[in-house]
């Protein structure tokens, strides 16, 4: 595999109690300069190594990344909280300014909150993030409460 693809890992400063939870503190440089993050969600792909029982593998991860109206970085998981399809920013012409799931017309507002009345019952997960030397680092996607 191409060496350049594998992002270097940094250990994030976290509570020692949490430190024993393997890997949860690892944030990964996703090769995106903070200056290149705009207020329009952009797709970011990166790889992480995962040991999962029998398999050790590189898995691909994706996030939708943008700056909100306060200039805060938001990195949303693209996995639909209904049944797991891939959600796209403005994925449907009928719903501008929203995330759209093609499987059962699931919709989410820009901040990832599920649009009531569509199949998803909770918002898109949010990736932990950090900024180091102007680069974006992403960790694990974290669930949020339903709307």
């Amino acid at each position: 595999m191409a060496a350049g693809l594998l992002a270097p890992m940094i250990r994030f400063a976290i509570d020692p109690v949490l430190q024993s939870q393997e890997k949860s503190g690892d944030l990964v440089n996703v090769n995106l300069s903070v200056d290149d993050i705009t207020d329009t969600p952009q797709r970011v792909d990166w790889e992480v190594q995962q040991v999962d029982g029998w398999y050790e593998s590189n898995i691909n991860r994706t996030a939708w990344v943008y700056k909100d109206e306060n200039g805060e970085i938001v990195a949303l998981s693209p996995i639909c909280t209904h049944l797991g399809c891939f959600v796209s920013w403005e994925g449907s012409e009928d719903y501008p300014n929203e995330f759209y799931c093609p499987c059962h017309d699931g919709r989410y507002y820009k901040d990832g909150t599920n649009v009531p009345g569509t199949p998803p019952l909770r918002p898109l997960d949010v990736y932990e993030h950090a900024v180091e030397n102007g680069m974006l680092y992403l960790g694990e996607p974290k669930p949020r409460e339903g709307a």
């Binding site: 191409a2 399809c85 891939f86 093609p102 059962h104």
Partner: protein
Amino acid sequence: MKWLRKDLEKYVQAKEYVDTVIIPVQMFQVVDENQLEKDSFDSEVLAIFANEIEKELSGRVMLAPAYTYVKGADLGREAERLNEWIKHLKQQPFKHIFVLTLDMQWKKSEASLDANLLWLPGLKPTNLQSQEAVQVIRGQIEQISELIRSYW
């Protein structure tokens, strides 16, 4: 969804949302040595496509285990067996059944299949991890999932 315990647990509870099946149809051989590399490469590519499409549409699509046959088999007969699979699948509320293959020979048997044939042109043997290959594959996956969605 895949044919894995954890996914099937989800499936039985959400059956009405999962109306599409993809069957990867894969050729296998070890005799024609000149073609060994190409044929095995094709089978890797097929597996990648099947997995990635499943990932993209996993809430509505069930990925079946691959249907495998020996190179040079009578595809008319294989089509009959494949139709048995399809008949079996249709006992569940699956409305859309897609057969995914890189073997062009299936084009000739398309009419006798009770499913939609998705034939993919193979890739030139290359490093599948390379940036370039990833880009090409990603582009094709987008097109295939769009095609599948057009049936919904």
